[in-house]
Amino acid sequence: MEPVTPTQPDLQTGDIRAPRLRPPLPLFLLQPILRRIVTRIAAQNPDMFNRLGPHRSANFIIDVKGLPFALHLRPDPDDLLFRAVPRNRKPVADAEIRGGFLDLLGLVDGESDGDALFFSRDLVITGNTEAVVCLRNALDDVDGSIAAEVADMFGPPGRAMLSAMRRASARRKN
């Protein structure tokens, strides 16, 4: 049997290099958590779906650099989907959004500007641009912070984790 190559981030791009062979990730452990998160956010912000227009049934792949899996989002309030998918078996999607973890966190935290991240090339979008623009506008019309709403779901540990990530993000900007 061919030896398993550990997953290594590319220091230039932050990408994960696909190993020739690797053990299956236990993504099934993540799925209920992701489902709970998206259900809660949708319930707390029902108006945001209006901004998606015809793209509420679009499938988005969110590719976070450094994570060993990608995220699959379908922001349809009648058929919500948010799940982890293996990088080498990403489903066919309408659009893909790719960026670093802290950059994407900044977007859902209301602290970063998507256009600025695009200008600096820290955010890459491919596929249906209109669907991505609608999703961006829908997420940005949420008062407060989606990241904080998610952190609140996990109580003091969640809030502490978000605070730590915000500090890391601030240090990087400075």
């Binding site: 209301g110 500007d113 600025a116 090339r121 491919t126 641009t129 940005d140 008062d143």
Partner: protein, 332 residues
């Protein structure tokens, strides 16, 4: 020196609340249709959203200016009239208009609501501005971004209305309200449909090396190598190949943003009544950072202090900024 009004963008109700909290004196916005020049998908206000947003803004002493700044095509003027009448019912403080038919409708039907002449009207001479004031009772003109501060001062001395100038955001050097570049490729008009480079026609392609090509319709309008900063996918900021050049070059404009932080004292001394921040398509984070920075700068100048100049380069297009024609006609 009089205290200028800080006029700030809002593409969503959350952005408007952010602008109000950040110190905007006035916020401009539009409906979700072709009556405004940022008719982008998922952006702008429904009537209910605008009603609630106006109530919130007025509670905090902030004015709301409604952009009706596109040109109605023949046979479609009813959409513009409905937007105007709706704005009046909801209590907007002023309309920002470009088309003379739209201006005439407001002057006749809503004479008590202030009329501001949009930059899209491209009125850049005292004669043109005086005509708008005389015919429609225009109370403020938003000047095109092609004038130096000394020219603005001269104009201010020759017109009876207020002057508003852009201080941050899109550089906008095309003859505003006349650009048809998007129309040639997409069939959609910036001036009639309110959309420049519609997102549905934009496609980004990333190759294995990390180079990013930007396509509008069937045309590639730029290609950024992996370490290059990018700009908006507009034809006017594309790079093009010609036999006379070795490599692609910016035929019209570079991806760059206007930033007049350091010219604020001069603009205020020149008699500018309102300072405008561009960017209704931008996020709450952009609105919060840019509005609060200029709020502090204007307040410092009014207090006779040196204005703090915030570093806004990360928010600029292509991560480059310029004082453009405001400082020198030979800025490029």
């Amino acid at each position: 020196m009089q205290r200028p009004e800080l006029v700030c963008p809002a593409g969503t109700p959350a952005a408007m609340r952010t602008a109000v909290e950040a110190g905007a004196d006035a916020v401009y916005c539009g409906f979700q249709n072709a009556t405004n020049a940022r008719n982008f998908p998922g952006l702008n206000f429904t009537p209910d959203e605008l009603e609630r947003s106006i109530a919130h803004a007025h509670e905090h002493g902030t004015k709301v200016l409604l952009a009706i700044n596109t040109f109605p095509p023949a046979g479609k003027v009813d959409l513009w009239r409905e937007a105007i009448d709706l704005g009046a019912r909801l209590g907007v403080d002023a309309y920002i208009v470009a088309d003379i038919g739209v201006a005439d409708y407001i002057a006749r039907n809503h004479p008590d609501i202030r009329l501001h002449l949009s930059v899209q009207a491209a009125a850049s001479s005292p004669e043109a501005i005086n005509w708008y004031c005389r015919e429609f009772g225009v109370k403020r003109v938003v000047l095109p971004r092609i004038l130096t501060v000394s020219e603005i001062k001269q104009i201010a001395s020759e017109i009876p209305c207020e002057i508003e100038t852009f201080i941050f955001g899109n550089h906008g050097l095309m003859v505003e309200g006349r650009c048809s570049l998007t129309n040639y490729i997409t069939g959609q008009s910036t001036n009639y449909d309110g959309v420049c480079s519609p997102a549905a026609d934009v496609e980004y392609r990333r190759d294995e090396e990390g180079n990013l090509s930007t396509r509008l319709g069937d045309f590639t309008i730029d290609c950024f190598s992996c370490n290059e900063t990018a700009g908006y996918p507009t034809i006017c900021k594309g790079r093009y190949l010609t036999p006379a050049r070795d490599k692609g070059y910016y035929a019209f404009e570079e991806p760059i943003s206007l930033n007049l932080s350091s010219l604020l004292p001069d603009l205020m001394a020149a008699g500018v009544n309102a300072l405008k921040i561009e960017g209704r398509q931008r996020s709450r984070a952009y609105v919060r950072n840019v509005v609060s920075s200029f709020r502090k700068a204007v307040d410092a100048i009014m207090a006779g202090q040196e204005p703090p100049l915030a570093d806004l380069i990360a928010l600029t297009e292509g991560q480059k900024q310029t004082e453009g024609a405001f400082k020198s006609k030979t800025w490029r």
